[in-house]
């Protein structure tokens, strides 16, 4: 089941302003992948991105999500990998927003991993064959993310607040 902006992704008990990254990973005539930012949760760090496409018929219903994220990895038309400095690889992000009218021809996705954030460079590697998006790499300095993570504060300052 595809979770829409829910589940573990928003259940953290820490609150920290997101780090806005706003970097283009790849852009072609039919599609683009844009990294939005990093978000911090109790047991997760999430790097979010927007996957945008130009033609209405490139995705029907949840077709893009299903075709891109659910097939075996050898048959995935989209490759979206996050490689951490400690050699961990998150092969595919999770869809976190629904593709529907008013939300543009796009979905938002997030790579999630457990903290701590390793020091060094994070690499995002993307390719979308059907959209003629050539392999591309974006490197992100992890140190600003580590600094931002350290200023996270409890989202529930009052005693008796909802226990997530």
């Amino acid at each position: 089941m595809i979770r829409v902006r829910g589940g573990e992704l928003i259940r953290g008990q820490e609150l920290a302003p997101p780090v806005a990254l706003n970097r283009l990973v790849a852009a072609g005539e039919r599609a683009a992948i844009f990294v939005l930012g990093a978000h911090f949760f109790t047991r997760q760090v999430a790097i979010s991105a927007a996957v945008c496409w130009r033609d209405e018929d490139m995705a029907r219903g949840s077709g893009l999500l299903k075709s891109a994220f659910l097939p075996p990895k050898t048959d995935r038309p989209i490759r979206l990998e996050l490689k951490l400095p400690d050699a961990r690889v998150i092969e595919m992000p999770d869809p976190i927003s629904e593709f529907r009218p008013g939300h543009g021809l796009r979905v938002h996705v997030a790579w999630s991993f457990e903290p701590p954030i390793p020091s060094g460079t994070l690499r995002i590697e993307c390719e979308w064959r059907d959209a003629r998006l050539q392999p591309a790499v974006l490197e992100i300095d992890g140190d600003p993310l580590i600094a931002a993570m350290s200023v996270a504060r409890p989202a529930w300052p009052a005693a008796g607040a909802p226990d997530q």
Partner: protein, 183 residues
């Protein structure tokens, strides 16, 4: 298909926006802002505004009502229908904002008197995009002018009184400049 049913033509689920007030533009990446705050809280629920993404024509934001109270969760899920159909306004979570020029937009506007056609075209608008449980995604058109944007919410059934928080619109305006025009 039997002729008893409407004879409709299939169309893509996602269709291109024809007017900027309709939602997130199709040809831009958007840019994430660092706006993220607790708008209101009680012992039963916390209301958070986050995921503020700026575009050249406006911005989207997400409002999350975080609770472990199943009754409140249901009220958030049914949104405004409780208010209008159940005649129980205290159960309705309502959110709105005021732009620096004093114009106010709320989640109840869609139930107010029909807007004249010219208002639809010129804006401003706060348009619901989707929701999932207590999560709401809103589109605000157009971009605010320089100054303070005031977010407000109220939810009597969840012990949330009228609550406000102010955000400098510069954070949104500057992020909008980072939104990449694609096509």
């Amino acid at each position: 298909m039997s002729e008893r049913w409407p004879q409709v033509q299939p169309r893509p689920f996602g269709t291109r926006q024809t007017e900027p007030w309709q939602g997130v533009p199709d040809n831009e990446t958007g840019a994430l802002t660092t706006v993220d705050f607790i708008l209101a809280g009680s012992e039963r629920v916390t209301v958070r505004v986050c995921e503020v993404i700026a575009f050249s024509t406006g911005f989207s934001f997400e409002c999350i009502c975080q609770t472990d109270d199943r009754a409140l969760d249901h009220m958030a899920l049914v949104r405004n229908r409780e208010y209008f159909e159940g005649r129980r306004p205290d159960r309705t979570f309502r959110i709105g904002l005021q732009l620096p020029n004093g114009i106010r937009m709320t989640s109840l506007d869609g139930h107010a008197s029909p807007l004249p056609q010219e208002s639809l075209a010129s804006g401003p608008r706060m348009k619901w995009i989707w929701s999932s449980g207590g999560h709401y995604l809103w589109w605000v058109y157009p971009l605010p002018a320089p100054g303070l944007v005031t977010f407000a919410c109220e939810w009597p059934a969840a012990d949330i009184p009228f609550s406000t928080a102010e955000v400098e619109s510069a954070a949104i305006i500057e992020a909008a400049r980072e939104s990449v025009r694609l096509w």
